[in-house]
């Protein structure tokens, strides 16, 4: 059991290189195909279109010809909550414990049979990573054959979200049990569907706690709380890496990487002059 795997709990996270991301959408489709996400005839109202992984289009706001755009894939951030104690914005508000924070993996679960659709978690999540089944999912006649047994298809009236392909973690643990080393999940044994699908390998997924994993080497998370904002823990020591809305103290586990300063600046809100102070911060200095 990983609960007592000599307390080296995992902390699965992801870093996405926005300079490599081409906005092609492979991650969106791979995620939908892997997790039995339904589709409707008209999905053009992006406010009730269920895409666990959504690719946002960012712009530097300048006018022609200096305008620039970048793409930002946004899965569920699996927030660790203030001080990384597991009180994610959504977990702390769900009235029926339909979503909880797995301290052994750092993954925020969503249980479709417990959720009764009050949608409070959707209001609490600042990343809009939670989707509600406004319609009863229906697959055209014959297409239910491609549904995967690893993820239970949902029903109308409940909230669903990215699970970091937790079923792949379950399969990896089964394999580890079978081969006798139940507490050691190899890096390549548990990779999410979007990571494996990305044609430009822009997404790197792994255990943030394990220095041997690529994601840890890129992000170099700082275990101590940030002196200027004690809610923030695990801030990246790589100046090119940032997190979305880090100042809110949600402590997301999805990091983003970009060489372009205007892209990094879109990660959070800054008052006048704040950005220049921390523009190329190295390590623990953070914005107050």
């Amino acid at each position: 059991m990983t609960q007592d795997n000599h307390n080296n709990a995992y902390k699965f996270g992801m870093v996405i290189d926005l300079d490599k991301c081409t906005g092609c959408g492979s991650c969106m489709v791979s995620c939908m195909s892997e997790n039995n996400v339904p589709f409707k005839e008209d999905e053009s109202n992006k406010r009730d279109s269920i895409t666990w992984m959504r690719v946002y289009k960012l712009t530097n706001g300048k006018s022609f010809p200096d305008t620039e755009i970048a793409y930002l894939p946004r899965p569920c951030q699996h927030c660790g909550g203030e001080g990384d104690h597991g009180h994610s914005p959504c977990v702390s508000v769900c009235p029926a414990t339909a979503t909880d924070y797995g301290y052994d993996t750092g993954i925020v679960s969503q249980i479709y049979t417990r959720c009764f659709g009050c949608r409070y978690c959707m209001g609490a999540c600042p990343y809009h990573a939670r989707y509600f089944n406004w319609w009863d999912p229906k697959w055209p006649e014959g297409m239910e054959k491609y549904l995967s047994p690893d993820v239970s298809p949902r029903m109308r009236g409940i909230v669903e979200k990215c699970s970091f392909c937790y079923h792949r973690y379950q399969a990896a643990r089964d394999k580890a049990y079978y081969h006798g080393d139940k507490d050691h999940i190899k890096e390549e044994d548990y990779q999410t569907a979007c990571t494996t699908a990305c044609p430009s390998n822009a997404i790197t997924f792994g255990d943030l706690n394990n220095p041997a994993h690529k994601v840890h080497q890129i992000v170099k998370p700082d275990p101590h709380p940030d002196p200027r904002n004690h809610h923030v823990v695990g801030k990246s020591r790589n100046p090119k890496v940032f997190r979305l809305l880090e100042r809110l103290g949600t402590n997301p586990k999805v990091y983003y990487l970009s060489e372009r300063e205007w892209v990094r600046k879109q990660g959070d809100h800054y008052l006048e002059g704040e950005w220049d102070k921390i523009k190329n911060h190295h390590g623990t200095t953070s914005h107050g």
Partner: protein, 418 residues
């Protein structure tokens, strides 16, 4: 025909006239019920809500109806705990309004959740850290208290009073109503507060988040306070409306002035606290997260500074001032203006604390989300209003709600018959 049921010495309109009125309101009720079944059987795609607007008109209706229903617990507390005798003439009506508000809230919640059949999971698998769990428990309990407070009034119906058991039951319940009112106040303090906490704890939403005391954000106390402040105003408003519709004077002026005075002072103290909280939030909490005040009130087609000013100044300071100063309080038109503004104020505060939270973009590259309710949502929000009107009409017709009614409307003084 139904004269046997009408309280002694009370003059009511003829049954046909009454039934026509009830039929009209009943039709609106049925329209709401039709929308309710649509939402239950076809699912919440009947509404215009979406993933940006998980909370919308219904949650606002919930919060607003509970806020204005605060009159029941506050008047009850004043009457039974602070022993203000004059309020016994309005406590019955306050309880009826409270009962209607809380039953409406529970009905709207039953329609609003995606899986009504699993609604009881909120009790069974309760997450005690969630404000909504606390709301669910205390709201249901307080609804029970309101039912208990409403039963004696029902049992005082002429026919019901004839059954000895009912007669004794009503009498005994009056005896220990103090305990029920105290428990009710305790429960109300928490769930009114938790409804405020629902918004205040969302640290992912800079527009909503507030610091606080221990686990309760300041909005917790502000919501209770505003419910207690504006609740009596709403009670007075509905009393005034009932008096206008029935064409009779139902409550003596000294009771109305007293309740208005209390409500006034509560509004004034609330508004001061609200202003302090807003200033602290606008200049300390939000900027610490990188948000200027203009982020929440500009470049969108609806939410502007006007909503802040209306809520605090026009519907806060003005009604407070009117109800505090004796001369303006006792001037009927000014008092009516004040209680109407007050009620609008609390509804606006609830609107802001639900819908503007959803509208404000949080991620830098996100956009404002605006939303218009669908007819089904409007119908199911009008449904409780219609049901409330019918209940008040029935109660007014068949139950002795206003003790002073006979006295105020009798042509010659008659001795106490019983």
């Amino acid at each position: 025909m139904d004269s046997a049921l009408i309280p002694e010495g009370a003059k009511r309109c003829s049954l046909p006239k009454f039934s026509i009125g009830m039929a009209i309101v009943g039709a609106v009720l049925l329209w709401g019920v039709w929308a309710m079944f649509l939402c239950w059987f076809k699912g919440l795609n009947q509404t215009n809500m979406n993933d940006y607007y998980g909370f919308a008109l219904w949650i606002w209706a919930d919060l607003a109806v509970i806020a204005v229903g605060g009159g029941a617990f506050f008047t009850g507390m004043l009457r039974y705990i602070f022993n203000i005798k004059e309020l016994k003439n309005i406590i019955n009506f306050a309880v009826i309004i409270g009962f209607i508000c809380y039953s409406s809230a529970l009905l709207i919640l039953a329609i609003d959740i995606g899986q009504p059949l699993r609604g009881w999971f909120i009790f069974w698998h309760a997450n005690i850290h969630s404000m909504l769990t606390e709301v669910a428990f205390c709201l249901s309990c307080y609804f029970a208290v309101l039912t208990i407070e409403f039963i004696p009034n029902i049992l005082e119906n002429r026919q019901a009073n004839k059954v000895p058991f009912f007669h004794h039951l009503a009498h005994n319940m009056h005896g220990i109503m103090v305990i029920f009112a105290a428990t009710g106040a305790f429960l109300s303090f928490f769930h009114q507060g938790s409804l405020g906490g629902v918004a205040g704890v969302m640290y992912g939403r800079p527009f909503a988040v507030r610091e606080g005391l221990l686990i309760w954000p300041w909005t917790f106390f502000l919501f209770t306070w505003s419910a207690a402040a504006y609740g009596p105003s709403f009670t007075l408003l509905v009393t005034k409306m009932t008096e206008v519709i029935t064409g009779k004077k139902l409550v003596k002026d000294n009771v109305v002035h007293l309740l208005a005075k209390i409500s006034g002072w509560m509004i004034v103290t609330y508004i001061i606290a609200k202003i302090i909280d807003t200033i602290y939030w606008a200049y300390v909490t939000a900027p610490s997260l990188g948000f200027k005040l203009s982020h929440f009130y500009t470049d969108n087609s609806f939410y502007g500074y006007w909503i802040l000013i209306t809520e605090i100044v026009i519907c806060g300071i003005v009604p407070g001032a009117i109800l505090v100063i004796k001369s303006t309080r006792e001037n009927p038109t000014l008092r009516l203006v004040a209680i109407i503004l007050g009620t609008i104020g609390v509804c606006l505060n609830r609107w802001v604390m639900v819908l503007q939270i959803m509208a404000v973009p949080v991620m830098p590259f996100d956009t404002w989300a605006l939303y218009i309710p669908s007819w089904q949502e409007v119908a199911t929000t009008v449904l409780p209003v219609a049901y409330g009107i019918m209940l008040i009409a029935l109660a007014y017709r068949y139950l002795p709600v206003f003790p002073q009614e006979k006295e105020l409307n009798s042509v010659k003084p008659i001795t106490e018959s019983e």
